[in-house]
């Protein structure tokens, strides 16, 4: 049994739920039949288990060090990334025209997820490189693409995203880094960038930074931000490195988790000129930066899910073998002890994890499929609809796993008891690593504002109603199965509460009051979304369970789906109803209290 992936469940989601095998009917993906997808998943699993997993504890324990302005880090980190690059994973989803393999984003998410489950912090370098390369590919000049893109797609040079500054994180409109024209079409970039993952490392010869900065005459706020490519090392016209570009590593941040990913304070242009090249249009930097935002946010939610999945698989494995205590109806101290999985509360903790991580994984892959649909379906209306639903679900897929798969990691630790709290087992590391996902790529609060303000408020709830229509369709299908009756009833209540709360919030004219409980609304809407995913999975399972010829392994698999759906509707959906009631009340003690009550 693998400790990082459940291939049966992954296959169920990809091929039974999402029908990913049919992606090959689209001309772009003609090569991606089921056999090709399986082989790519096999290679991903082999690398994840044999290269990424064995070094996870080592690179966590040996945090990168700041030595004479350079990074020192374990060689294992670079070796794993080179194996990842050699296998072709950096280029998997890029178009063939730029040297990629043109795979569906659905497959990319599923395949790379295994390495993420094994060792998130090492994979971060690769994901940042792909994100930077995507930006360059979308908006960069032909010259910049020629010089930098191949090295990034081949994983020879890594990339970063330089947005935040010490004084400006969530509020990017307040950045101060300046880009002054040098008169030859290039810019002198000067300023400080904070929280830059992979900003410096001891792995690649060059690092391609995507930097947000302001032109001297830029308008204030987020409409005055431009995007620049700023390499660590300058290159000549043939792409050969010529010398440093005066970017100084000012320090490394010491983090709770994800320690193998360097996190840097970088100074641009202080010890000499740092030259940058503009990407795209002046003052459109932030907009361009968010070009791949849906994908990036799915990636963060998926990373949270993968940490949850690794914890779930590990704690289930432990629970099957750890002998402790006796069944509730047998107190004879002379009788042999039983594996702890025989205790109902341990199974409750496992079900709680299963409901969170398998549900979240299905949601992440559903959203990845929307990315593919929005880009590659031939029918324009289908493309637009996919884009709308993706926009609505992006704040959910980013934030729900970061909260509830972190909670899953809590239960994984709990199942191991004291052992789970020690560094002899990977559970505490997964928990620490996972905590970041609540914060980066738009905090939980930013996602709440995005959902309520931009995704629901902006179109008067139109896209939300469309999504509720999708959910009701699944619900109506689920009613055909007697087993799912109670689950459907609880989903009905949750949907009614969602609609009612949304009406109240949209009617509220006071923006501060309307958004005061935005994160509560986000969380509750996330629950409804997951409830829908579970009804969908459970309906497929019920249909299969009706087959008398089902193998024993399949019967257990689908029965597990039924129970996880039941767990979610019974234990979790009522929380959503309560939270929607709170949102509908428009009450908020936080709103109505002075900052001074927390001290002066």
């Amino acid at each position: 049994m693998s400790l990082i992936v459940d291939r049966r469940d992954l296959d169920f989601v990809l091929f039974e739920m999402l029908d990913a095998g049919r992606l090959a009917e689209r001309p772009q993906f003609a090569q991606y039949d089921r056999a090709a997808m399986d082989q790519i998943l096999d290679t991903a699993q082999a690398l994840a288990e044999e290269v990424f997993l064995p070094i996870a504890a080592e690179v966590d324990a040996n945090e990168p060090r700041f030595v004479n302005g350079q990074v020192e880090q374990p060689a294992a980190t670079g070796a794993a990334l080179r194996a990842w690059a050699d296998a072709g994973f950096f280029g998997l989803a890029f178009d063939e025209a730029v040297g990629g393999l043109q795979a569906p984003w659905t497959l990319y998410t599923a395949a790379t997820g295994m390495a993420v489950a094994a060792n998130t912090p090492v994979t971060n370098y690769a994901f940042l490189t792909v994100a930077a390369a995507n930006l360059l590919n979308a908006f960069g000049s032909e010259t910049l693409k020629r010089l930098y893109l191949p090295a990034m797609i081949e994983g020879r040079w890594f990339g970063t995203m330089c947005l935040s500054e010490p004084q400006a994180g969530s509020s990017l409109g307040d950045i101060r880094t300046m880009a002054t024209p040098r008169g030859d079409g290039t810019y002198a970039v000067r300023g400080n960038k904070m929280w830059i993952s992979g900003g410096e490392q001891a792995i690649t010869d060059n690092i391609v930074h995507m930097v947000l900065a302001k032109l001297p005459d830029a308008p204030p706020g987020s409409r005055g931000i431009s995007l620049f490519l700023v390499p660590k090392m300058r290159v000549d016209d043939d792409g050969n490195i010529t010398g440093p570009n005066n970017i100084a590593l000012a320090g490394l941040n010491h983090k709770l988790g994800q320690r193998a990913t360097t996190n840097c304070l970088l100074n641009f242009g202080e010890a000499g000129e740092t030259i940058g090249w503009m990407i795209g249009e002046p003052n459109r930097g932030l907009e361009q930066m968010f070009h791949m935002m849906n994908e990036a946010r799915i990636g963060v939610g998926h990373a949270a899910t993968m940490a949850g999945l690794a914890g779930y698989l590990h704690s289930a494995d432990y629970a099957r073998t750890r002998l402790q205590g006796r069944p509730a109806d047998s107190r004879n101290p002379a009788s042999p002890q039983v594996p702890i999985i025989r205790h109902a509360d341990v199974r409750r903790m496992l079900l709680s994890q299963k409901a969170a991580v398998e549900g979240a994984q299905a949601l992440c892959l559903f959203c990845s499929k929307l990315v593919d649909d929005a880009a590659t379906t031939t029918d324009a209306a289908t493309r637009e609809r996919a884009g709308r639903l993706l926009g609505l679900l992006t704040p959910v897929v980013k934030s729900w796993p970061s909260e509830h798969c972190l909670e899953a990691n809590k239960w994984a630790i709990q199942i191991l008891g004291g052992y789970g709290y020690t560094r002899d087992y990977p559970l505490e590391r997964l928990y620490r690593d996972n905590r970041l996902n609540h914060i980066h790529e738009g905090t939980f609060a930013i996602q709440g504002m995005d959902l309520l303000g931009r995704k629901i408020g902006a179109d008067g709830g139109e896209t939300l109603r469309e999504m509720i229509g999708v959910i009701r369709q699944t619900l109506d299908g689920a009613r055909a199965f007697a087993q799912l009756g109670p689950d459907c009833a609880r989903m009905d209540s949750a949907l009614a509460a969602l609609e009612s709360a949304t009406r109240a919030l949209l009617a509220c004219q006071d923006p501060e009051r309307r958004t005061a409980n935005a994160t509560i609304f986000l969380d509750a809407f996330g629950h409804v979304t997951l409830g829908w995913i579970w009804l969908w999975q459970a309906s497929l399972a019920e249909a299969r369970l009706a087959d008398p010829a089902l193998s024993e392994a399949d019967r257990l698999f689908y029965f597990g789906k039924r129970q996880a759906c039941r767990y979610f509707s019974l234990h979790e959906l009522p929380h959503a109803v309560a939270r929607f009631a709170l949102c509908e009340s428009l009450e908020s003690p936080a709103l109505d209290c002075a900052p001074e009550i927390f001290g002066e």
Binding site: A35, Q39, T43
Partner: protein, 249 residues
């Protein structure tokens, strides 16, 4: 020199095997299948010989249902050149496999055949030896090292007492042991390129081989569950139990 590598599609080594309720065999529905690990080692060895310039072409053969072509594709993605599927839904036994391979070999004329020493599903460990006998070729089984020089082949074999090195005259049969090499991962570009490599299909009927099973499976049962151990008070008691109860001394 051409190298021929037979590969078998088996239940993945990670899968927990379950016996079918009627005892007729093990569950294969919706079970992850992959290339027999010893055959992966065989493919890897052939690729290394090609990279050294010893081999010029690697042909991969699989005998099994249509899905066995996926196993061939995996070998092509690792670096083999072309594939031959002998398509049959019969569960072919080692002697049948050896006879089919002999027919394929008569057409392909390879200088070397590298097989896994056994398949992890039935653990027969017979095909390589039977094939050598049918062809009248030299055989080097359980290889942990293979070196080709001119018309001869030095094979280091893993035997009970240690290692034994033998010299074989080519053409020859080699079966692989675990320590021969560490197979490479199929890289993603090679997986996609492999889709364009040739894969021919034939059948036992076309090759004129009767593959009807000679063996009859009477029943398939789970191995007995391990029962709890006992603590012994002394070495004397242990020796006595081994002698009188376990009957192993």
């Amino acid at each position: 020199m051409k190298i021929l590598v037979p590969v078998k599609r088996v239940v993945d080594y990670n899968v927990k095997i379950r016996v079918k309720q009627d005892g007729s065999g093990v569950e294969l529905a919706n079970v992850k299948m992959s290339m027999n690990p010893f055959d992966e080692i065989a493919v890897e060895e052939a690729i290394r010989l090609k990279e050294k310039g010893v081999a010029t072409e690697i042909v991969v053969v699989s005998i099994g249902p249509q899905q066995a072509s996926e196993t061939i594709r995996t070998a092509l993605a690792m670096g083999a050149d072309r594939g031959v599927l002998v398509k049959t839904d019969v569960n072919v036994e080692p002697l049948g496999v050896a006879k089919l391979l002999k027919k394929v070999i008569e057409t392909e004329n390879p200088g070397l055949v590298i097989l896994g020493k056994q398949a992890i599903d039935d653990d027969s460990n017979q095909t390589g030896q039977m094939l050598a006998a049918l062809l009248g070729w030299a055989q080097g089984t359980f290889a942990s090292k293979v070196e080709v020089s001119g018309e001869t082949l030095a094979v280091t074999r893993e035997i009970d007492g240690g290692l034994q090195t033998i010299e074989l005259k080519l053409p020859a049969i080699v079966t692989t042991d675990l320590r021969l090499n560490e197979p490479r991962y199929a890289s993603l570009p090679n997986i996609m390129k492999a889709k364009k490599k040739p894969l021919d299909e034939t059948s036992p009927e076309t090759l004129g081989v009767d593959v009807a099973p000679r063996l009859k499976v009477l029943s398939t049962v789970e191995p007995p569950k391990r029962s709890a151990g006992v603590k012994v008070a002394s070495v004397e008691e242990l020796v006595s139990k081994l002698k009188n109860e376990a009957g192993v001394l």
